[in-house]
């Protein structure tokens, strides 16, 4: 720690020091721990001897411009943590001002003090949450950290490209935030440019992920032996590569519309394709519609790694192999394929030319098949298992619950004609928050509780974690279930014109209830933040490599892993990823890397 602070004192720009500070606290802490860990084990060699490939260069080259996949993965996770709290503050402002427009909240009210600002709040909330939390955390954060570890690769296929994508994402985050603070017209341009940068970075990451998973697998790690998380990351990378490039084309068109006055999405085209009741002032509507345009594409990109996490965690904590693992892999591929096709229909419906609603409807409904396969697999894995109920599994089960209830309301949406969608945005909002936003966040939290010992060498606090889980779980249902109901009421009022005045009287109190729910939920996230920061420095130490008794390769190395991951020896894989409850073996699991002649036998 001492050397780190003396190095900080070197003349550096203020901004560089701010960024350094965040990275350093984590790295310094983990290094110090590893050092102490080594000392407690009476290892006599110097603590730096296990970092032969890391030259003692300047701090900037070691932390800011390190091409180590673990440093980059943690960087994405920090970005996601910052963004999720920013985005939550915005949703808090939106809901509070919806119920009490005149209320004055210190700091936050200034964010939405004019109509234009208020209308841009949903956009910024959505873009931060979708791009920097739902895309960044499960795929780029955990993926960068764990994918090379799980396949025994030591490094991503193109480390420098990876570093470039990370910094492009940081630039894009700054750009999006700046767009909110700039004047509306310039703001839109900056926002679209930031999206373009993010998409280009995501494309590079997607190529990196696919190549790493295809070509850099360890000896013996055949495709059927890949952990489901790796499958999910791979399918997601391929899906992301396809849809991000389409989005990039659309964004490039939008950007050139604004910069060079081209006519791809000109206002005349845009307003002609809208229903007649849309307000004549196109600006706030344009903001909102662009947001929906992107959100549809991202649903499957956000969900796929979460399916992988949940299958992985449920198998590990039920101590049973994944039920029908091959079928689950096929289901993941099907989600990627059909999700891509559904999105294709959305692209034409939201700016160019409405395609047949029937095709969209059939495709959206056919997503139900892989979803049911996944659900059945999770339940059958849990069936008659000796389940270890810790916070990580609770969050995974919370994901299953949210996915199920959100998916049920999705059946209604798949049947609805496109034209009636504008009438009940509350229903859509409730549905996709439940199934995408909150469910994916639950899966990310489950993954964080599971891999936190590997990332930082300490555990998160279990009792705080369980309190956080139950408060959040109750909170999100209180927030998003009434929203469905609001949407149904407003939809039926518009369609039928029946006498709904008695039901309409309930809308105000329901809105207040939702706002109360969101305050409680955000408060519960404070517990999480405290738990996270406290455990980072004071959490219970994890002495062994494999505290969860899991099978995959990342648990065969020290926690946190050394810079070159596997040290001098090459990892070799001998079996599938979910060998739990094998008969005739001393323990109830066999790690993937243990040679057959070294597996301890039961007597």
């Amino acid at each position: 720690m001492g050397t780190c602070f003396s190095l900080i004192a070197r003349p550096l720009s203020f901004a560089a020091r701010c960024i350094l500070f965040v990275c350093l606290r984590v790295r310094a802490c983990s290094r110090a721990q590893r050092f102490e860990l080594l000392k407690t084990r009476m290892v006599t060699y110097d603590g730096d001897a296990n970092q032969p490939e890391m030259p003692r260069g300047s701090l900037v080259s070691r932390y800011l411009f390190s091409t180590d996949h673990k440093v980059i993965g943690l960087g994405y996770l920090w970005l996601a943590l910052i963004s999720v709290f920013l985005g939550m503050a915005m949703s808090l402002v939106m809901r509070i001002h919806l119920v009490w427009p005149g209320a004055h909240i210190p700091f936050l009210s200034a964010l939405g003090n004019t109509p234009e600002r208020y209308a841009t709040l949903p956009l910024l909330h959505g873009s931060l949450m979708v791009f920097f939390v739902l895309t960044a955390a499960p795929q780029l954060g955990f993926g960068n950290y764990l994918l090379p570890l799980q396949i025994g690769a030591r490094e991503m296929a193109f480390p420098i490209l990876n570093l470039g994508s990370f910094w492009a994402s940081v630039v894009s985050l700054f750009g999006m935030t700046a767009a909110f603070l700039a004047a509306p017209q310039n703001g839109i341009t900056i926002w679209i440019a930031s999206i373009c940068i993010f998409l280009a970075a995501a494309l590079c990451s997607a190529i990196n992920f696919s190549v790493t998973a295809i070509d850099l697998r360890a000896k013996g790690l055949t495709l059927p032996r890949l952990p489901l998380t790796v499958w999910a990351w791979l399918v997601n990378a391929i899906l992301g590569m396809l849809i991000f490039s389409i989005l990039l084309a659309a964004c490039a068109g939008l950007l050139s519309d604004r910069l060079f006055d081209t006519h791809f999405f000109s206002a005349a085209n845009f307003l002609a394709s809208q229903p007649a009741n849309v307000a004549a002032d196109p600006l706030p509507v344009l903001w909102q519609k662009i947001f929906w345009f992107f959100a549809q594409a991202e649903v499957y990109v956000a969900m796929l790694p979460c399916f992988g996490f949940v299958s992985h965690l449920i198998a590990t904590f039920s101590r049973k192999p994944v039920w029908k693992e091959r079928l689950v892999v096929l289901a993941l591929c099907a989600v990627g394929l059909v999700g891509f096709c559904v999105w294709g229909q959305h692209m034409f419906s939201s700016g160019l030319n409405p395609f047949s609603p029937l095709v969209f409807s059939v495709l959206a409904a056919s997503l139900g098949v892989p979803a049911v396969i996944l659900l059945v697999s999770w339940f059958c894995t849990l069936w008659k298992a000796q389940i270890q109920f810790n916070t990580s599994l609770l969050f995974a089960l919370g994901f299953v619950s949210l996915f199920l209830s959100g998916g049920l309301s999705g059946i209604f949406l798949a049947r609805r004609e496109l034209t009636s969608r504008a009438g009940n945005e509350d229903f859509v909002t409730g549905h996709f928050h439940l199934v995408m936003g909150v469910a994916a966040t639950f899966a990310v939290l489950a993954a964080l509780f599971f891999w936190f010992p590997k990332l930082f060498g300490r555990r998160l606090n279990e009792s705080l974690g369980k309190t956080h889980f139950w408060l959040t779980f109750a909170g999100v249902y209180c927030v998003f279930m009434p929203m469905h109901w609001l949407g149904l009421i407003s939809g039926s009022a518009k369609n039928a014109g029946a006498d709904l005045s008695s039901a309409a009287g309930w809308v105000g109190p329901v809105r207040s209830f939702i706002t109360a729910g969101i305050v409680v939920t955000v408060f519960a996230q404070g517990i999480f933040l405290f738990n996270f920061l406290w455990s980072l420095f004071r959490g219970e130490r994890v002495e062994e490599c494999n505290p969860w008794r899991a099978t995959t390769l990342e648990w065969s190395v020290a926690s946190p892993p050394p810079p070159d991951d596997f040290g001098a020896h090459e990892p070799v894989v001998y079996r599938g990823a979910y060998e739990f409850g094998v008969p005739g073996v001393a323990e109830d699991f066999i790690p993937q890397h243990v040679a057959p002649n070294r597996v301890a036998r039961a007597n």
């Binding site: 490939e53 690769a153 030591r154 490094e155 296929a157 193109f158 494309l203 997607a206 190529i207 990196n208 696919s210 190549v211 295809i214 070509d215 850099l216 697998r217 000896k219 013996g220 055949t222 495709l223 059927p224 032996r225 391929i238 590569m241 396809l242 991000f244 490039s245 389409i246 990039l248 084309a249 659309a250 490039a252 068109g253 050139s256 060079f260 006055d261 081209t262 006519h263 791809f264 085209n269 192999p321 693992e325 160019l352 030319n353 070159d564 001098a568 090459e570 070799v572 001998y574 079996r575 599938g576 990823a577 060998e579 094998v582 008969p583 005739g584 040679a595 057959p596 002649n597 036998r601």
Partner: protein
């Protein structure tokens, strides 16, 4: 026998404790792509499988194709539905540019044949000509832009002209990446590189032919969109 102690360097026998579950029956490197990785891994600690470059270029080509397909579908939809569509009169020099680009693809293949025969001088000469033809194509596209601008057709004039400039511009940018790759193969010292010259030339050739085919597709699209 699982219980006996086998020497560690004999080919590993995989125990199949679950009867086919998770593919346990396969030998570690049988039928998979691990074979050529292993040699590299035993030499150095950095797992630098050269195969990753060709995989990456294949995936990148799919990605670029999706980018242009999105623009092309927007082109087709707007072409059929728009009331303000004014066709662009394509400059004649585009035919010459197309010929130059297709010719460069042929020359690049000839150069690779020379390389495989070990004729380094012939390879360099043909490769250089290919690179020059790439530059010629880009210059020809700029001339086409210039001719349109003289006619008063700018990027903001109408939808068709927007598409013309965006298609040619985006293709030109991607093609410049190909030219950079050509120069890389020509000028790079491959002594201490992770990749050999024939492999780099092969990967560059994939990308170059792809750019060639993409241009032909875009040209046909623009021609039919008149």
């Amino acid at each position: 026998m699982p219980g006996t102690i086998a020497p560690p360097d004999i080919e590993l026998v995989i125990e199949d404790s679950r009867g086919g579950g998770g593919g346990g029956g396969r030998p570690p490197d049988g039928g998979d792509d691990g074979d050529d990785n292993d040699y590299d891994r035993q030499r150095g600690r950095q797992p630098a499988s050269p195969r990753r470059f060709s995989t990456a270029i294949a995936i990148a080509m799919v990605s670029i194709l999706m980018f242009f397909m999105a623009l092309a579908s927007a082109f087709l939809v707007l072409h059929h539905s728009s009331h303000m569509w004014v066709a662009v009169h394509l400059p004649r020099i585009l035919w010459a540019n197309t010929a130059v680009l297709i010719g460069s693809s042929f020359l690049l293949e000839r150069a690779r044949v020379r390389l495989s025969l070990g004729d380094d001088r012939g390879f360099r000469r043909l490769w250089l000509v290919t690179t020059v033809m790439g530059f010629l194509f880009v210059a020809g596209q700029l001339v086409a832009w210039r001719q349109l601008a003289v006619q008063g057709v700018y990027i903001a004039s109408n939808q068709a002209s927007s598409f013309f400039y965006i298609f040619t511009g985006a293709h030109g940018v991607h093609l410049m990446g190909g030219v950079a790759a050509l120069l890389f193969v020509l000028l790079r010292n491959f002594e201490k590189s992770q990749i050999s010259r024939p492999l780099a030339a092969e990967i560059t050739s994939y990308y170059w032919h792809f750019m060639d085919g993409l241009w032909v597709f875009l040209f046909v699209l623009l021609y039919l969109g008149k």
